[in-house]
């Protein structure tokens, strides 16, 4: 009897360690995110990030009386609960891996986080979405604006990286002689209990989604759980859109680029099936961002995300991990986006950032899917080739 209990405990421990104490390969993360994103669309709506942040900003500004907009409570707004799920999923994941801690940035980093959030807020307003809604889900939804944003992000990531390298020249890293002997071993290592808190949060999330369901917000509850799963996957695999766009220029590393390209191939095919079968409206997530909004918005957003060290989704999962710099980014990003979007709505500018182009209207579904697979495949191959030949690596 004792032996059997010992066996079960050991197996559970091993299972926990292999799931939560190692980093999952990026491509595994990319594939899982694609499936979750398809499930979100099948359940209710495409995956998006910045709309939830904007909901928080609108809610705050409306509560303060700065402007008035009919705004849903962040507790039931679909976009908002997906974001809350993502943050708490990453928080739970960090705890499960004993990796959560409050990470306070030096002053320059904090300032960069703040300014980068402003750039991202403006960029995401012009592109009608961040790297997720404006690029990932937009391409999945077969919108040409998403392709425009992809090119904007590539250019923006390049410029953002040039800034980081300039900063590195201006403030070169200072090394010191090692102090030695200062290695402290703290008293109670509270990381030992972190996994228990992590499991508690996951159970709590399931209970909360039941609660949503019992008060007729079943859709919100489902999106909360799917968001939670995205948060866990992205944190565990450290799937990073910033690195996908930045690394080919920085180190030549192509792993994240390939993971995102692969992820998009799966998500796009899934979204195409859902739309093609007539399960969801064809123009869902096809925003009027071709060409100006996507390209320029992507460019501005791309600069911001490289300086912040986190995109829309990446900011959220790093917030859950305890990175204070990204907390600052989240605040300036949400508030700027709410303000800029409010301005664009009230002045009508929102209708002038480009055309809404649903690619199958031009090419038919079949050729759209093939064309996008080719485009993403070329991105994948170009990143791989560049890793070997270092063609666009800056230094």
């Amino acid at each position: 009897m004792n032996d059997e209990r010992g066996y079960l405990a050991r197996k559970l421990k091993e299972g926990h360690a292999s799931l939560f104490e190692r980093t999952w390969p990026s491509w595994v993360g990319g594939m899982l995110v694609a499936f979750l994103s398809i499930l979100m669309f099948a359940w209710e709506r495409p995956w998006g990030v910045v709309a939830g942040m904007r909901n928080w900003g609108d809610w705050l500004f409306t509560s303060l009386g700065i402007y008035h907009k009919s705004v849903q409570s962040p507790l039931v707004n679909y976009a908002s609960v997906m974001d809350l799920g993502l943050v708490f999923g990453a928080f739970a994941s960090a705890l499960l891996g004993r990796e959560f801690s409050i990470r306070t940035p030096p002053r320059l980093e904090a300032a960069k986080g703040f300014v980068a959030g402003i750039l991202m807020g403006i960029g995401a307003a012009l592109a009608r979405g961040c790297n997720v809604g404006g690029f990932y889900s937009a391409i999945s939804a077969l919108s040409l604006g998403g392709v425009a944003m992809m090119f904007g992000l590539i250019l923006g990531a390049y410029v953002g990286l040039r800034y980081l390298l300039w900063e590195l020249e201006k403030f070169p890293p200072r090394t010191t002689a090692p102090a030695g002997g200062e290695r402290s071993e703290g008293g109670f290592d509270w990381r030992r209990i972190q996994p228990w808190i992590g499991y508690a949060i996951m159970i709590l999330a399931v209970l909360v989604s039941f609660r949503y369901s019992s008060v007729a917000y079943t859709k919100s509850g489902g999106l909360l759980l799917l968001g939670l799963a995205v948060g866990i996957v992205m944190h565990r695999s450290r799937l990073c859109f910033v690195a996908a766009f930045r690394d080919p220029f920085m180190t030549g590393e192509s792993r994240q680029t390939k993971a995102v390209a692969l992820s998009l191939m799966i998500a796009m095919t899934g979204y195409a099936i859902i739309k093609w079968a007539g399960l969801r409206g064809e123009m869902v997530y096809v925003a009027n961002t071709f060409l100006f909004g996507g390209l320029v918005g992507g460019f501005i957003f791309g600069i911001g995300m490289v300086i912040a060290g986190g995109c829309g989704s990446g900011t959220l999962w790093r917030v859950g991990e305890g990175q204070v710099k990204l907390w600052i980014t989240l605040v300036s990003f949400s508030l700027t986006n709410a303000l800029v979007r409010y301005y664009m709505d009230t002045t009508g500018l929102i209708h002038k950032v480009g055309k809404a182009v649903f690619i199958p209207d031009l090419l038919s579904y079949k050729w759209t899917v093939i064309a996008l697979l080719v485009l993403l495949g070329l991105w994948y191959l170009a990143a791989d080739w560049n890793e070997e030949k270092e063609i666009v690596v800056v230094e």
Binding site: P106, T175, T176, P178, A179, E185, R238, C240, M250, G252
Partner: protein
């Protein structure tokens, strides 16, 4: 060799920095080192646990390992080729 017995030649404090700054700073700091010297990088970004060994492998430097003793930060060790 036990990581705790390593005597680094230089220490780089990258605590509080987020991705990709710890990597870029390590890369730059190692340019000024002599072959065989060991650098100790103090950091708080868990991403470095993946980025720094990858960088070492790609650049031909030797990855010695990471210490995570509940000090509130990680200690990464690399040896210049």
């Amino acid at each position: 060799m036990d990581l705790k017995d390593i005597k680094p030649d230089v220490t780089l404090d990258a605590r509080g920095l987020s991705c990709p700054m710890p990597l870029l700073k390590t890369k730059k700091a190692m340019k000024g080192m002599k072959p065989g010297q060991i650098i100790e990088v103090l950091g708080t970004d868990p991403g470095s646990k993946k980025d720094l060994p990858d960088f070492a492998q790609k650049s031909g430097n030797e990855w010695l390992g990471v210490l995570d003793d509940g000090e509130g930060f990680y200690r990464f060790y690399l040896r210049k080729k």
